[in-house]
Symmetry: C2
Subunit: 351 residues, 2 copies
């Protein structure tokens, strides 16, 4: 049996849109409602529509290539960020290569040198202090991940301090008497789990590294509510992962004295925390209210669904792409740092 191959007109008719809209979806260009984009994508899959090959080849022959280097993929933020970067690159007519560099920023730059892209976005959540020479490459670099490239390259930042202070204050304003945090930097703590005063002082002035800035915002709000900073309810995370969130929440539960509010350094941590609380029959939000950070897609699918700071990751990715393309196209102004706006998306993990 020979199946007739679906045409762009078939897709357009079934999805109830114009052929131009279908073409825009295929090429990742144009402005349309998210709902329309998804309906067209689903129709493309239902009809197994394949765009004309030579048109695609022609298009790909003329595009340039961006690169994005990511430390890991197994936590929810990175895949979301890469999806956005891919979409905005395509919208601007650029291809994209992705590199998974592991723990080491130097290897990110080395990998970048070997892959022939016109410029790179490097996502890093570890400090790049003293690493200036890594950024003196013959291709432009934009930093994402809330670290500064010692003023030598463009960077995008999230409003980490403000948003974390807001989330913590929000918990106090919504009935919490003791608000804890999970996901502080391990460097803040000595071996008995107490704060190291010098490190605490350093973090209270942090202007980069998201874990440090998020702790800083948390600590500011705690101080405003005349609650002492308490290392028994503000816990470190060796990595900002679901696994660590779960492990630290287990420790907190074992130890007793659970706070009635928990601000988590990111959604990954919060997902692990919710999992541990659920397993121990601790009710969220009745016994403990929980807020995450990143507003990843997983926040919606948790049970209870997770209230989370939305740092506008889409704008974050869009700016990184725009800044990089501007450099590739010749912008030689001094490096700039752009910071997104935030909002709190209330779901079921808070009252």
């Amino acid at each position: 049996m020979i199946r007739k191959r679906a045409t762009i007109a078939d897709v357009a008719a079934r999805a109830g849109v114009s052929a131009q809209t279908v073409s825009n979806v295929v090429r990742g260009t144009g402005n349309m409602r998210e709902e329309t984009r998804r309906r067209v994508e689903q129709t493309i899959q239902e009809l197994d529509y394949r765009p004309n090959r030579s048109a695609q080849t022609l298009r790909s022959g003329v595009t340039k290539m961006l690169g994005v280097a990511i430390p890991y993929f197994d936590q929810p933020f990175c895949p979301m960020f890469v999806e956005y970067v891919a979409r905005f690159s395509r919208e601007r007519g650029y291809g994209l290569v992705i590199s998974l560099y592991g723990r080491d920023i130097d290897s990110a730059v080395n990998e970048a040198r070997r892959i022939n892209a016109d410029g790179w976005i490097i996502l890093s959540d570890v400090s790049l202090e003293g690493n200036d020479e890594a950024f003196s490459q013959d291709f432009p670099i934009v930093l994402a991940g809330d670290c500064l490239g010692a003023g030598t390259v463009d960077a995008v930042m999230m409003p980490n301090v403000e948003a974390s202070a807001y989330a913590t204050q929000w918990l106090f304003d919504h009935g919490c008497e003791r608000v804890g945090m999970i996901g502080a930097s391990p460097r803040l703590f000595d071996e008995s789990g107490q704060f190291i005063p010098g490190e605490l002082d350093r973090v209270m002035h942090a202007v980069e590294r998201n874990v440090d800035m998020r702790f800083r915002g948390y600590a500011q709000a705690v101080a405003r509510n005349t609650m002492p900073l308490d290392a028994s309810i503000a816990l470190p995370a060796a990595a900002i992962t679901r696994q660590e969130g779960e492990r630290q929440a287990e420790l907190l539960i074992e130890r007793g004295g659970l706070p009635d509010g928990l601000f988590c350094a990111n959604d990954a941590i919060a997902l692990g925390v919710l999992s541990a609380l659920n397993r121990h029959g601790i009710r969220v939000p009745d016994d403990v209210q929980v807020i995450g950070f990143d507003n990843t897609i997983d926040a919606h699918y948790m049970s209870p669904a997770l209230t989370s700071i939305d740092p506008d990751s889409q704008e974050y990715a869009r700016w990184a792409v725009e800044m990089l393309i501007a450099r590739i196209e010749g912008n030689d102004e001094p490096p700039v740092v752009k910071t997104t706006a935030f909002s709190l998306v209330e779901r079921e993990s808070t009252r």
Copy 2:
């Protein structure tokens, strides 16, 4: 204040391992327990240890490069697969580039042509029938994603039919009287939601496309239990995503007549289904037992945690890497298809 930079010996001492083990973790080589690897990685981050730069550069100068092309990143399987591919590539001394090709396999091949890797793993969940010429490139290709390259390239497969029949039978054996499925191919259904007999017949002989093979396994087990195939409890998914799982479960709940067992085409679908069931106060596993497929990390973090078929994704990725490297190094035997083994990981969504 000048902080002394951490050395490999500092990391080894604190993590309680040898310097060689630390080196193996940094370079992604060597065999060790997962727990050891994680402890070393956490210590590296705690101490902010950065491996010696020139050693890294030297290493990267001599490695070759694999490519992996992925259709999307916003569902849980793909990031996990890429993490495994990256680890096994590194273990074999190869670098890795990742390409996000969107919906169209031809664009995957076009992207691959432009990025100078020594060979490509292409993950595709849409059929590649009639697309043979796409695979006649001057670099080797290995297909992942349970589609066959018309016998022209190596492929890795999951045991889709057997594992899906097993999961469905397991539900019947554990108290379910009616087992439904979410995530069948939309092509099976006419506009009133009834099965199209010709399409049903085609799928009952499917040897590629994971959604088709998983439906085939489900239907086999249903037939063995003398239950008629019922289109009111076997629902399509336009895409195998959390969003579609949620949407289809909402339809099923609205319509009434919820089955007491649900086999989901993958974990993404199952996560959406659990979210919808939770929201409607339908108890899992008391009212409905749910099984997913892929055993992604998210399965563990759901509430209730998701019982899922583990198709050994790690082996799946390892084989793809090994087969590709063998081709790069000169293997010119006829193409082969390798299929992984499976197990069922029981968690809280089943009784």
